[in-house]
């Protein structure tokens, strides 16, 4: 449908006024909520890929994500009515001692853009808070961010505390500037992604398995 393709395009451009207008028009025209959702998700997905290739940068990601969020607010009641739930429930935060949040926010945005429910605990988050939030929201995945070599030990301790808490099949994924695949493996995390778009693929892969 041409309108839905256009909706995808305006999300990519981060045009929130148009995103809301087209979403409302689709709702009014009784386009199935699933199709509207797919068009929005396709937009964020494309922005993530372009970001990965350095074709767009943080500002473009931020405005695309806000356009998506505002369109989703309109669509929300239709999704509920149609019984469409978020794909996964995720908790995210920067580990204790770390105040960097730009990268973590982008990951949260990409996850929301992929129709995950995201509980963002902010920065400087102690392990207990991660565990409590996972229990409260019945999360399937938890994301830990660390930007400092000095908070990498806190990341390690948090992964251990979460694993020791015995939270069933919960997956722990990690990221941040100094984090590598090797480090992730070493501290017992289930996955690592160097960037926000990859964080979506990572969770899908881990949870589909």
């Amino acid at each position: 449908m041409a309108e839905l393709q256009e909706l995808t395009q305006v999300i990519i451009k981060g045009n929130r006024a148009e995103a809301k207008r087209l979403t409302q028009a689709a709702i009014d025209a009784q386009v199935p909520a699933r199709q509207v959702l797919d068009a929005l998700v396709a937009g964020m997905d494309e922005v993530g890929r372009r970001f990965q290739r350095n074709e767009v940068f943080v500002p473009e990601m931020l405005i695309a994500s806000r356009a998506m969020k505002e369109a989703m607010a309109l669509l929300e009641p239709m999704l509920v009515k149609a019984g469409i739930k978020p794909e996964y429930i995720a908790v995210i935060g920067a580990v204790q001692g770390d105040l960097h949040d730009i990268g973590k926010n982008l990951v949260a945005m990409m996850w929301r853009g992929a129709n995950f429910q995201v509980v963002d605990l902010g920065t400087n988050v102690p392990a207990e808070k991660f565990i409590a939030a996972v229990k409260e929201h019945r999360a399937q995945v938890v994301g830990l961010s660390s930007l400092l070599t000095t908070t990498m030990p806190a990341m390690q301790a948090t992964v251990k505390a979460i694993k020791d808490a015995g939270l069933g099949s919960l997956k722990v994924v990690v990221g941040g500037a100094p984090i590598t695949q090797d480090f992730a493996k070493e501290i017992g995390a289930d996955g690592f992604s160097p960037d926000a778009a990859g964080a979506v693929d990572l969770v899908r892969k881990l949870l589909a398995a």
């Binding site: 981060g14 350095n54 767009v56 940068f57 943080v58 500002p59 473009e60 931020l62 405005i63 806000r66 105040l99 730009i102 990268g103 926010n105 902010g122 920065t123 400087n124 070599t149 000095t150 500037a177 100094p178 160097p194 960037d195």
Partner: protein
Amino acid sequence: MTTQGSLTGRERVNRMFARQDQDRIPRHESFWPETITRWQEEGLSGEQSDVLDLLESDFGQVTWMWPSPFRGQGRTIQQDASTRVVRDEHGKLARYWKNKSGTPEHLGFDCDSREKWEQVYKPALLNTGLQVDVHAAKRAFRRARELGQWAYVAGVESFEQTRTMMGDEITLMGMMEYPEWIRDVSVTCTDVMLRNLDAIVAEGVHFDGLWTYGDMAYNHATMCSPATYRELIWPDHKRLAMWAHAHNMKFIYHTDGDINGVMDLYVEAGFDCIQPLEAKANMDIRTLCPKYGQQLAMFGNCNVMKYATNDRAVIEEEIRAKLEAGKKTRGYAYHSDHSVPPQVSWETYQFIIDLVKRYGKY
């Protein structure tokens, strides 16, 4: 001290900028405060300045400038029985506990709209008067001259100032949605900076260089696109570089992150030197020097992630390789690729000083 060998620090750095022969590469370093504390526990007697003396740093800071709209006027704007909300001098809002210590909760930024910028923050910035202690600068300048150091004024440039005042999200989204607004903030911050610089010079402090700080990149790229940077911030960076040149000074630009995409713009704006060239963000003087080494002096690039291993062989190879690459252009000064973190032991850092001295000879 700095007059070691045949050249003073000042002569050495000036010769580096001119790509003339030097006895050794110039040196400087930055540290996390926690690093110095650790080293004091491990036997360092003295402060950061003493470590810089051991390194025989060639650089002397005259003053530090971070213009703010409410200078010295952080204040409580709201409170209840156990907490208070404070707006700091830049406009950042945080909640503090009254009866216990602990990390304050970051709440946001007071300057969150164009109206607020125009009605409150812009007039405040323009009306706060001088933001430097000119007399202290004069004293520091005299001392730097006595020590034969290359004297510089350090300051935060407009992109960093904007983010400090309005936060990353408002700033970065504003670049897309209200570019004229962000441009206005950048121009205003730069005007204020230049006014302060003029005041310092008017007092007879003819320092050698302007070293501006503004982190515009991260591990994978610049925060905004090179095109956005060119349009909104670069003209002010160019203004700062031109001001420096008009006063017979050099212009050093500090940024973290991967700046490969904007190096040509730096050259075009007339920057003289880039620091600290973060290795883990794909910056490598082995490829940068051959390409940009004539136009831009390179300052730094020794990988602190390698220092943090405390593995002597790893560290020696890093310093040897980087210094060798830098020396080929004669336009290179030693610095780590940001600041030395507290994982590095005092013993290791003393070894690093030895290596820098050994491999830094011409």
